[in-house]
């Protein structure tokens, strides 16, 4: 006959931690799927306005980004409080846009150059004077396809 061991259940069995990594992996997969590797560190405050007639920006590699907004607190001493432009990782001025576009165009293949879009990611409190200047520069450079990046939502949230 088999021996019957008398089970001593005087202590609680240790909680199995085998499922802990599963939970963490789920969070990890969520982040891997829903995010993109950050291209640029934002040196400006950038709260985008809402719009409902938006279209998705596909072809990420054919997009150049121009960020506009007030510099972050730490940099306000150097750059002031007015809205500035950020190209790639540096705070720049309207006159630098020409060189920026030329550099972006040079890095793409010949036949794709006409499909380059410029994504204007402008803070919602920025004034139109600066945006108008940027558009004028873009027109001079013949970069006519632009996209005003906005979040999808109702425009009533823009007024405050």
């Amino acid at each position: 006959m088999a021996k019957f061991n008398k089970k001593k259940s005087s202590e609680l069995p240790p909680i199995s931690t085998a499922s802990l990594p599963d939970i963490v992996f789920m969070l990890l997969f969520f982040f891997m799927v829903a995010t993109v590797m950050r291209e640029n560190t934002l040196k400006i405050n950038n709260v985008l306005p809402n719009a409902d007639q938006v279209e998705k920006l596909d072809k990420k590699d054919l997009v150049m980004y121009i960020y506009v907004g007030q510099p972050v607190k730490e940099l306000q001493g150097r750059y002031g409080k007015e809205s500035v432009i950020q190209l790639n990782d540096k705070i720049s001025y309207v006159s630098d846009i020409k060189a920026f576009i030329a550099a972006e165009r040079a890095s793409k293949r010949e036949e794709l150059r006409d499909y380059l879009t410029t994504a204007l990611k402008v803070d919602k409190d920025a004034n139109m004077g600066l945006v108008g200047d940027i558009k004028q520069e873009l027109r001079k450079e013949n970069a006519l396809k632009i996209n005003y990046t906005t979040r999808e939502g109702d425009i009533s949230a823009n007024q405050n």
Partner: protein, 200 residues
């Protein structure tokens, strides 16, 4: 000697590895906003004087001042009424004879636009206008065009204009880059062209 059951692998270190990866991704990625309003800027050519005489009634002026107030056709208007006013203007079809518009459903008011392909919306803003107001106005105007295009596409082809464009661009749809669909899209674009001019 009976084989000992192989000892259980301690799962605690798996969690550590997973946390490390998670922190790495949290730090190096962002949830990027990649939606927006697609627009086309007009090319710069040496600002020729106003092209062929455009009748005043064919121009819909929208002015935004530095205090974010909006003047439409010289009258103050709230943002919520802009969409409807723009649709009324574009779809008016007040023209007669060769300017007549066979597909417009508007009031045919002779004081408003003749035909959607002659109707121009002119947007002017000042340097102090905030970007959010500008985007709201652009949104409403683009919405007016989309409403009319979608309605026309439904009448002609039974699907909305947005669906047609999506089918054209979608690699998985059977109509991907089909010539026939392209022609249909072009037709709708010709019937309701986006003539939105932003004067400086």
């Amino acid at each position: 000697m009976a084989r000992r059951a192989s000892p259980e692998v301690n799962a605690g270190s798996m969690a550590d590895i997973a946390f490390l990866l998670l922190i790495f991704f949290l730090v190096t990625t962002t949830i990027e906003t990649d939606t927006g309003l697609n627009r086309k800027l007009p090319p710069i050519d040496d600002e020729q004087t106003d092209p062929p005489v455009i009748k005043q009634k064919n121009i819909f002026t929208v002015l935004i001042n530095g205090k974010n107030q909006m003047l439409v056709e010289d009258e103050l208007m709230e943002l919520k009424d802009l969409r409807k006013a723009a649709v009324e203007f574009l779809d008016n079809g007040g023209g007669t004879g060769e300017d007549a518009c066979s597909y417009c459903k508007g009031k045919r008011n002779p004081a408003s636009s003749d035909n959607p392909d002659k109707a121009i919306i002119s947007l002017k803003n000042e340097r102090e206008t905030t970007y959010s107001m500008y985007i709201s106005v652009q949104n409403e105007l683009v919405a007016a065009y989309n409403i009319l295009r979608n309605r026309r596409a439904e009448e002609l082809y039974g699907q909305s204009f947005a669906e047609m464009e999506a089918a054209y661009d979608n690699t998985q749809s059977p109509q991907f880059k089909s010539e026939k669909l392209k022609e249909q899209i072009e037709r709708i674009k010709i019937e309701y062209p986006q003539k939105l001019s932003e004067v400086q």
